[in-house]
């Protein structure tokens, strides 16, 4: 159970302060898949990093399983938008990195990593290097790396944002299948795309920007297990259209506001 309690975050740089998040509160029940979505600058990545323990909130707390988050831990694993693989290490070493960080001996971690690479469909690619793989495959390594350490919570930061549209669709459906097949982990998934959120998540937390705050929390009404067919269903299309529209509105208002701010600053 993840609880975000009145979290605020202010960044200061060169004397100027920037309010990234203001009084954000919501909860994620264990075993649920929730999506954080919102226009640029709404702080969703910041929030995710706080859950990962990489950043501290200025105010408020984040609790996981009743305990306050004070740093990174074995119970959480991150998947990054830019994959962030070690370019000089092969796929197996990369997938085993989290395990190596945990001090697990070489043979054991190679086995575990290999198993997870199989699960994400990369069996046979252990000796390859990241630059030899496509974006989608590199991200699969990233996902394998995260799953290999068997975290309670999976944190994903726009994992498919760097991929082309077709690969993205494939990855979404693969992730859906993977997540539904295995012991479902509590997952927080940051994205830009409403279609993605509606397909994968149980609940969508829509955030507004400047400052980042929760605009609405929407339950995704589609029953599990879901599959590819969902994308074509009229209910799904309508659901995502409505929410996309809201998102667009927020972005337009924000753009208008920033233009206003600029002209005021000049004037």
């Amino acid at each position: 159970m993840i609880e975000v309690k009145s979290v605020s975050k202010i960044f200061t740089r060169n004397g100027k302060s920037f309010e990234a998040l203001r009084d954000v509160s919501f909860g994620v029940a264990t075993g649920r898949f929730i999506s954080l979505i919102g226009p640029s600058g709404c702080g969703k990545t910041t929030l995710l990093k706080m859950m990962a323990g990489l950043i501290e909130p200025t105010e408020g707390v984040i609790e996981i399983g009743g305990k306050e988050v004070t740093g990174s831990g074995p119970d959480r694993a991150l998947v990054f938008q830019n994959f962030v693989l070690l370019p000089w290490a092969d796929v197996l070493t990369n997938a085993a990195f989290g395990l190596e960080a945990r001090g697990i001996p070489k043979k054991e971690r190679a086995e575990i990593a290999r198993a997870h690479l199989d699960r994400v469909g990369l069996g046979g690619f252990e000796r390859h290097y990241p630059h030899e793989l496509s974006g989608g495959m590199q991200q699969r390594v990233g996902i394998a790396r995260a799953l290999a350490v068997d975290p309670d919570t999976l944190l994903m930061d726009e994992p498919f944002g760097s991929l082309d549209a077709i690969t993205r669709k494939v990855m979404q459906h693969d992730l859906l299948r993977l997540w539904q097949e295995t012991a479902t982990k509590t997952t927080v998934f940051v994205t830009h795309s409403m279609e993605e959120a509606a397909l994968l998540a149980d609940e969508v937390v829509v955030m507004d920007t400047r400052p980042g705050r929760v605009a609405q929390v929407v339950e995704v009404p589609f029953p599990r297990p879901r599959d590819q067919a969902l994308s074509d269903s009229p209910d799904y299309v309508q659901f995502t259209a409505e929410l996309s529209h809201n998102l667009e509105q927020m972005q337009r208002i924000d753009m208008a506001r920033s233009l206003d701010d600029e002209s005021n600053a000049d004037g």
Binding site: F11, T12, R13, N14, G15, I55, E56
Partner: protein, 274 residues
């Protein structure tokens, strides 16, 4: 420059140190750096005093005295004046020629391909070995001296200018052409400003090289300027004056670089805070 640990402290903020006021004197990097310099001086002092015969290792105090004596000696200033003339000639011409030829070579791929083997050769060569050639060709007069300084500065400026123009990708040039902008206009408004950072950096580094060329000129060409003083102080074992003289050369170099950096920042003021 945030260090590795600032990422590990979990606050995720870029730590900033106060840049103004006394606070900046006391922040750790400067403190340790200052202490390092002081430690260096102290170590030197101790070593110099421990020597029985410290002709070659004057104490800091002796060096300081030497500096004072030097500055009061009209011979010193005269020597510098004689050294600065070929420096200025060589420096100005190397900057001008470097940029001019660099622009041509940067804009015309063919030109560049023709001269690039030579540029590569001269870039890999220690320029100082060309000094005897200059002596054979021009003797030891002003032309010979200036040409030494010229050679040191020229290749650096040339290379930087070519690279600077190279940064202006073909895409940008296509873009200007698609809008019907003539080549001259495009050059003035797009290519040249775009290449400016590299060119200015090249001028700065080239100036540093020209100063090196000046010193090499003084050391290798029988000279009437600073080089003559160097020979005299060495012959007479006047270590304190020699050290002081070297310090003045270092100061000259620093001043020249600082001035060029100022110029660079002024020309590139649109850059804002890096």
């Amino acid at each position: 420059m945030a260090d590795i640990d600032s990422k590990v402290d979990g606050r995720g903020e870029v730590a900033t140190s106060p840049r103004r006021g006394l606070g900046s004197l006391l922040d750790p990097p400067r403190l340790v750096g200052g202490a390092a310099l002081i430690a260096g001086f102290v170590a030197w002092e101790i070593y110099a005093r421990s020597l029985e015969n410290n002709i070659f290792f004057p104490t800091v105090g002796t060096m300081a005295e030497g500096l004072v004596r030097l500055v009061q000696d009209p011979d010193f200033w005269g020597a510098y004046r004689l050294t600065l003339v070929p420096f200025l000639w060589g420096w100005v011409t190397s900057m001008a020629a470097g940029v001019a030829i660099g622009l041509i070579a940067g804009l015309s791929k063919t030109t560049w391909k023709l001269i690039s083997p030579y540029v590569a050769f001269f870039h890999a060569l220690p320029v100082s070995v060309l000094v005897p050639v200059m002596v054979v060709a021009f003797g030891i007069d002003l032309l010979a001296r200036s040409s030494v300084v010229f050679l040191f500065g020229f290749f650096e400026v040339l290379l930087s200018t070519v690279v600077g123009i190279g940064y202006i990708s073909d895409d940008i040039r296509d873009m200007t052409r698609s809008f019907g902008m003539g080549p001259v206009r495009a050059f003035r408004r797009v290519v040249l400003p775009g290449a400016m950072p590299a060119i200015m950096a090249g001028l700065r580094i080239g100036t540093g090289r020209a100063v090196v060329g000046m010193v090499v000129m003084e050391l290798l060409l029988v000279s009437v300027g600073v080089g003559r003083l160097i020979i005299r102080y060495r012959a007479l074992f006047q270590a304190d004056l020699l050290y002081a003289l070297v310090v003045t050369l270092a100061i000259f170099g620093l001043v020249a670089l600082a001035a060029m950096r100022r110029l660079e920042n002024y020309v590139l003021r649109w850059r804002g805070d890096a």
